[in-house]
């Protein structure tokens, strides 16, 4: 994947509004060049207090952030799947009783690659109204089974890396991530943080994850087994899960040091990496995934990511064979 960062088109202005008591409004629309973006999250961070206000666009892409205290704001729209880049606009001022207009045109987060297109938005919109309680297993545990539309962390924190890892990451960035294992049909990333479809098959003793990327599956053993004492390092590691009430806590160790972590971030790591994921399903339509990566050989402090996956019940993962006519090494001049 490639990300092109281009300046967004902005229409900024202020007009009288209806807000009272020293507060104002930011109102506008979020679009892509080819149409409005529904269900996008708009965040406004208040300059002096740091408080964050959020709104969501409606079907026609309109939003309104009301009752905002006076001041300047950083307005942002997190990445939407692989479809759009993150949008950030600083110094948006809000005056008492006024409405600030802010129309946002997002930039496509890809090169129009098939599968990186508006499919994410279409799937999201199709299942926007999935409602209901979380399904349960016969033993009363939440059942995570289903096809899920993965997601990005809305506000990813910058990783604090040891010097060697900072150097390595800079090297990766300066070469446009051309050595990413997935470019060579290797398993790229054990963190499952790509905003693509994931299928979960949940049985009493196993949570199986199927996905279109290599190596296409991950097993999480729920039967109380421990990690092997001296595991051969693998790309995906060895995952076990235990329940803390309705939260499944998945711990993975036994990694090799070859994968690049967290999707587009491409972080290096050592084979001391330990990954902890906390899965919750508060209702039918949502799976909350809290990810912690701990590697004292790489990170100054553990890295966290927080994702919300959305149920996409009529979708299915497709057969995807990376080795079939993979042109990456050739096109990147590596062959």
């Amino acid at each position: 994947m490639k990300w092109i960062y281009l300046a967004a088109l902005l229409l900024l202005g202020a007009s009288p509004g209806l807000a009272q008591n020293g507060s104002g409004t930011i109102r506008g629309a979020v679009r892509l060049p080819d149409g409005p973006v529904a269900r996008a999250t708009i965040q406004a961070k208040h300059g002096s207090s740091g408080k964050v206000f959020t709104a969501t666009t409606d079907a026609s892409g309109q939003f309104a952030l009301r009752d905002l205290p006076q001041g300047t704001y950083e307005v942002s729209v997190p990445e939407v799947g692989l479809t759009t880049d993150r949008f950030v606009q600083r110094n948006v001022s809000v005056e008492p009783g006024q409405t600030t207009s802010l129309d946002i045109t997002l930039q496509k987060g890809n090169l129009g690659v098939l599968g990186d297109d508006n499919g994410f938005l279409a799937v999201r919109s199709k299942y926007a109204n999935v409602r209901g309680p979380a399904p349960r297993m016969p033993d009363g545990r939440p059942d995570f089974s289903g096809v899920w539309n993965g997601s990005n962390d809305q506000n990813p924190e910058e990783a604090s890396l040891l010097p060697w890892a900072t150097d390595e990451l800079n090297k990766r960035r300066s070469t446009a991530f051309r050595d990413h294992p997935s470019g060579f049909c290797l398993p790229g990333d054990p963190t499952l943080t790509m905003p693509l479809l994931y299928k979960l098959v949940h049985t009493k003793g196993l949570l199986l994850q199927l996905f279109e990327q290599e190596p296409h599956y991950r097993q999480i053993f729920l039967g109380g087994r421990a990690h092997p004492k001296d595991a051969d390092p693998t790309w995906m590691g060895h995952s076990t899960g235990r329940w803390e009430r309705d939260t499944l806590v998945i711990e993975t160790t036994g990694f090799n040091d070859k994968s690049w972590l967290i999707f587009a971030t491409g972080l290096p790591h050592t084979d001391r990496l330990r990954m902890v994921e906390r899965y919750r399903r508060p209702d039918l339509g949502h799976l909350l995934v809290d990810l912690t990566l701990d590697d004292p050989g790489t990170f100054v402090k553990p890295i966290e990511r927080h994702m919300t996956w959305e149920l996409a019940p009529d979708e299915e993962i497709l057969e995807s064979i990376c080795s079939e006519n993979n042109k990456f090494p050739e096109n990147a001049g590596l062959k």
Partner: protein, 277 residues
């Protein structure tokens, strides 16, 4: 335990003595024209040939695993709705007596071309999915739910989904390496039906038959007891085979085993080593 055998009470006459292939460990042995006379004992020592080049993973592990679990006894496990439960890790094996496929001339020629080039064009050597028939004598893990039967395996593409929820095949599927698989129950037999296959895969372990997109794979799964899974495979492709090709295999339940991560693209040397470059 010493590898000795004895077949008693044989009517007099000529016999063909054979030892079927054992996993990828040994090649099939066959000796025709062994004459048995009334009241006499023929002593016959057989030296099997390894079926591989001593590659790690093709070694004696198959026999060791087989011997570890061959005496497992017990009834067929059942799902809550009383269907046989096929879940578990299985050690597959080949058909002990595979019948030669009868092919149309184009397919016969293509197959001979493959054989004459030592099967070097086999998709697996380029880390592509090999064979939708799941007939390699390796481990397969089955995960069965009310609506799904999933196979996990170490070869690409590492999984197959069979839908048991009553859905039909798509009307016009995009052809894929593994096709689209649905299953239905006939009493205690699960009948899997696969269509929508591309024409790129090579069929049946060590046979490597060509086929067209008209291929249909029918698999009948039965689990007569705890330890055994019987699978009857029928390959129907009127554009390739004169009559359907059948294979009958028995998998052994190996509950203490696990499939391992296998990443073909990691340092794959086949292209470099091929004698046919």
């Amino acid at each position: 335990m010493k590898g000795e055998f004895r077949i008693a009470n044989l009517p007099a006459g000529p016999y063909e003595i054979s030892v079927p292939q054992m996993g990828v460990r040994t090649a099939r042995y066959a000796q025709p024209g062994v004459v048995i006379e009334a009241g006499k004992t023929v002593t016959f020592n057989i030296m099997l040939m390894p079926n591989n080049l001593g590659i790690i993973g093709d070694d004696s592990a198959f026999l060791q695993t087989y011997n570890k679990y061959k005496d497992l006894k017990g009834p067929t496990p059942r799902t809550p709705d009383r269907r046989p439960d096929f879940s578990g890790v299985w050690l597959a094996n080949v058909d002990p007596n595979p019948e030669p496929a009868q092919m149309l001339p184009w397919a016969q020629e293509e197959w001979m071309r493959r054989r004459d080039r030592a099967f070097e064009g086999m998709p697996t050597s380029r880390c592509l999915p090999s064979d939708p028939t799941l007939t390699l004598p390796f481990f397969y893990k089955i995960i069965q739910t009310k609506t799904l039967l999933i196979h996990l395996f170490e070869q690409d593409p590492h999984y197959r989904q069979a839908f048991l929820d009553g859905r039909e095949h798509p009307a016009d599927p995009d052809p894929t390496w593994m096709g689209h698989t649905i299953g239905r129950w006939e009493n205690d037999t699960l009948v899997l039906d696969t269509v929508g296959l591309n024409d790129k895969s090579w069929l049946l372990q060590a046979t490597w038959l060509p086929h067209t997109e008209n291929l249909r794979i029918i698999e009948r799964y039965t689990r007569p007891d705890l330890a055994h899974l019987n699978i009857d495979v029928t390959l129907v492709d009127p554009d390739t085979f004169i009559k359907p090709v059948e294979r009958h295999v028995t998998w052994l339940f190996t509950p203490g085993e696990e499939i391992l991560e296998a990443v073909c693209t990691e340092n794959n040397k086949f292209g470099e080593y091929s004698a046919f470059k």
